[in-house]
Symmetry: C2
Subunit: 108 residues, 2 copies
């Protein structure tokens, strides 16, 4: 891919059932990732947005976690239903989706 204007990392970390930290995968992050990829295709936004899955981003309790660079914006508790809003507001227009921001004690 060419260098994107914005790069989305979706945590898809898995952990065994019952693990005390839980995981983003257990909170549905694979579906979040698939929804980001589907939106990318629908919008044909390959020249300006990249979507990549990643290992653990830290605040496992509040997953599914999605991190957007270059801003370094961490969204938490993301569901597939939130993905179009993140695309419309942040990825295409540079506006933070305040309601999904990770708590400042976890990422600031």
């Amino acid at each position: 891919m060419s260098r994107p204007a914005r790069h989305v990392f979706v945590c898809t970390q898995q952990r065994p059932p019952g693990h005390p930290r839980g995981s983003c995968a257990a909170k549905g992050s694979t579906q979040v990732l698939q929804t980001f990829w589907a939106e990318l295709q629908k919008r044909n936004a390959y020249e300006k947005v990249a979507i990549t899955y990643s290992g653990c981003l830290g605040p496992c309790d509040s997953g599914a976690n999605v991190l957007v660079y270059p801003e370094g914006t961490m969204y938490s508790g993301v569901t597939p239903a939130d993905v179009p809003e993140i695309f419309n507001e942040h990825l295409e227009n540079g506006k933070t989706v305040e309601r999904l921001l990770a708590p400042p004690e976890l990422w600031s």
Copy 2:
């Protein structure tokens, strides 16, 4: 983790042997990742640097690929021996390691 000043993504994508695109894992990226984590620990740099593995970053032919945000700097052909230099120059001092930059036709 708290928000890092610099965030390193190491591609650890795997593909089956003989796959035409190859993969960063086949080019030793797991060892690169382990070396980054070992340097992070050695330098106790957890407050300013994060190291995360990721899925495919694009230029598979020139792996192992390492992407540093917020700059969006892509290094290619990275080996474990290169990791201390990336730490010293880029992660701790903000200077690009020119000799490891991905070719501009792949990332610009």
